[in-house]
Symmetry: C2
Subunit: 246 residues, 2 copies
DNA sequence: AAATGTGATCTAGATCACATTT
DNA sequence: AAATGTGATCTAGATCACATTT
């Protein structure tokens, strides 16, 4: 997908283009151009830097977001302060819907892993859109149900699969959603640390480091500081799916 | 909550009462009586025995259900055939919505843990209701979002907490949703095996058995064949929340 | 027959402790 | 300074193997 807006300033200048882009967001699919323009006119852009937050878990759910550039990780914190990464989203993805759906506080946090820009609506505005545009409500059901089904599958995998397979799946998922072709193979297109992978898969950075070292020895991956390239993705698929490795 | 219908035969006789009951289902909250009556008239009841299925994971998502009596576990199977229990639902709970929300197959299975009766609509019917009754779509977003948030919390717990705590949480959850006061304390009101608890918490029946034995020694639970009574629920809360135990 | 209980043993992966790299 | 690599050690909980209970 092409970049939507390179920065916050370019956004308000072209409302027609904005409406066209919004129509490609799954949540707003199927809406008439004038409705999209009206929804778009109620948004304002917000840009944050890498490591900054759009919102914290537990904060008042005052706003709804659609990411227009960058990557954002959706996280939860344990009472002991350990972070868990639920998913990493990219441009065109909606997040922070809890307020519009009736919750008082965000059940998750949202942190930029690289500089990010999002369109922001107040939760009240988005609740009104949900209530006046039945198509948006239908899209929202499908969107949230999709998230639920995906998490159910990963929950099952966390319950039943070994760490190696879960880490293999996480890497494949990341390149599927954010892969960039490079000479050596497919690279994950934003900074990912061993710690990030550990927080996505329910293990420790030590174990991720050892797995990546072992895979590097076998020529399956190449990795550096916050950078991972899959040189033989099919070999990781074999690990993830328990296929014979040829 | 009082029993809705003791068996399939009693259902069709009183459409007004049916509409009143449907109005208490979260998904149908806020609908006018005539709309409820129309929705109710399109349902038919289905009764199955303990251990039988309303549907299998992966089957065509042809129908939508509201449980009116009994308990149903929502499950997933691993490729190796191991079962995982995502949740156990009771009367008034909706399930099998995937078809109405646009999926072709059920992402989970639904098995009765005791004799159960559900109202059944075709997925097409329910999709039409979703499309013509904006309030139902709004309710559905809230319902599915609630399921998602709950699973996100449990996913985090599965990633970060020890087995003992997860099992303590599972028991507390079961008595909260299906607890029955008895002389000795609070009993889980349907048959639960060690295996069921293991499939809910991502451990083995052996570990659950050992935990229950240890807790029985400490006077926290009493348990028998497919039966668990919490005699000191507060002690389990202390285990689940890491409180000092007094 | 299916569910449960429990001792003995094993092991995947966590934890600890440093060293090295970017 | 933050991220990574890796040897040494530890341990929670799985696995195995029976015995017992309902």
């Amino acid at each position: 997908m092409a970049r939507w807006w390179v920065d916050a300033e370019t956004l308000p200048h072209d409302n027609e283009e904005l409406a066209r882009r919004l129509g490609q967001v799954p949540l707003f699919q199927g809406l008439a151009a004038d409705v999209l323009a009206r929804i778009g006119s109620q948004a304002h852009p917000k840009a944050i830097g890498a490591g900054e937050l759009f919102f914290n878990e537990g904060a008042d759910a005052e706003a709804f977001f659609v990411l227009t550039s960058g990557r954002v990780k959706l996280t939860q914190l344990t009472p002991e302060g350990h972070q868990v990464v639920l998913r990493i989203i990219g441009e065109g993805d909606a997040f922070g819907g809890a307020g519009a759906f009736g919750d008082l506080t965000y059940p998750i946090g949202a942190e930029a892993v690289e500089p990010a820009v999002a369109l922001v609506w107040t939760s009240d505005t988005m609740r009104q859109v949900l209530e006046t545009e039945p198509r948006v409500a239908l899209n929202a059901v499908q969107f949230v149900a999709g998230r639920l089904h995906d998490l159910q599958r990963r929950h099952r995998q966390l319950m039943t699969e070994r760490v190696e397979r879960r880490v293999a799946r996480a890497l494949l998922r990341l390149v599927r959603e954010a892969g960039r072709r490079v000479d050596a193979g497919v690279e994950i297109d934003f900074p990912v640390s061993r710690q990030d992978i550990a927080e996505m898969t329910g293990t420790t950075l030590y174990t991720v480091s050892r797995l990546l070292s072992a895979w590097e020895d076998r020529g399956i991956v190449e990795s550096g500081r916050q950078r991972i390239t899959l040189t033989k993705p099919h070999a990781l698929v074999a690990l993830a799916e328990d296929l014979p490795e040829r």
